[in-house]
Symmetry: C2
Subunit: 202 residues, 2 copies
Amino acid sequence: MDKIITISRQYGSGGREIGQKIAERYGIPFYDNELITRAAKESGFAEESFERAEDKATNSLLYSLAMGINVYGNQDFGFSGLSLDDRIFLAQSDVIRKVAEEGPCVIVGRCADYVLKEREDTINIFVRASMSFRLHRAIHDYHIEEKKAADYILKNDKRRGNYYSYHVGEKWTNLNNYDLVIRSDIKGIDQAVDCICTYLGD
Amino acid sequence: MDKIITISRQYGSGGREIGQKIAERYGIPFYDNELITRAAKESGFAEESFERAEDKATNSLLYSLAMGINVYGNQDFGFSGLSLDDRIFLAQSDVIRKVAEEGPCVIVGRCADYVLKEREDTINIFVRASMSFRLHRAIHDYHIEEKKAADYILKNDKRRGNYYSYHVGEKWTNLNNYDLVIRSDIKGIDQAVDCICTYLGD
């Protein structure tokens, strides 16, 4: 298996876990928070800013308006005129391109499919699941309060969708952005991993 | 394998062939033109009207306007006030529900995912592919003239998308409508069949 695998995922769908299992099966690196940490260290930004970046976009209009009141970089930094969020996105994108250069790996989130779109060796996967499956995971695995869980899930998806459309300029839910879209709840996480590995081959 | 499998597909993606191979592997019925023929016979409409139905919708506004000048059913038929196209869709939907009642099968096109959405035993698949793969198939397998092939493919996709959004009220390319979306050109038709069968299980 000689591919760079990117995974986009609905909140609570198990996309991150699926990504980890694929990475383990092929013995290749897995990036999500690791990636953020590495980006933060290399660019000198505070790690906390990076961790919040994907959750920040509320919708592209509000986001664009908000850019005006963000802290701007100085001329020396080379990103003059860009918001802090945009600079974080660019720094993350640099890291994504670097780890992809190093060889096959799994990268979760952060519009990696878009960042690496010029590479022909990427496989872009989207993981989705039913609301009941995601509710169960949110409550039991992520310890989200039961009565707030549905709202929390929908808000997270909205943020991820807005983050994607802001940076990529396309709808997050457009199937043309992905090579494989899989619903993880019908036969479970492990069956989804098997299916993806059958698709990827040896 | 105890599922009803519906397949939506971009023109030239090999979705029909994939559907046939899945049906063969599980030894279950496969429906597309067969389905149309059966619908036509049961409802008494001319077969030709059915064959053109999916290709007729150009966009929902034009389509709706066109409904006004269509031949209307009489009171006895029970579809009074519906256009011929809508009556054809209803007759097809009846057939889809009937064949699904008979047991596991593969149904290609005709918004079968939507028609069967109340059934919990359906798996909805969308097959897509790169333009170059589809061009090759259009020219070599379907004998479309080379210089007209790209336009032909795009027009067919547009018609299928409009047909879906007209009848279902949702975007054809919204990944939330499907359990599995697969790009058939990366590893080929047979690998796609293997992947889908891994997903479906025994």
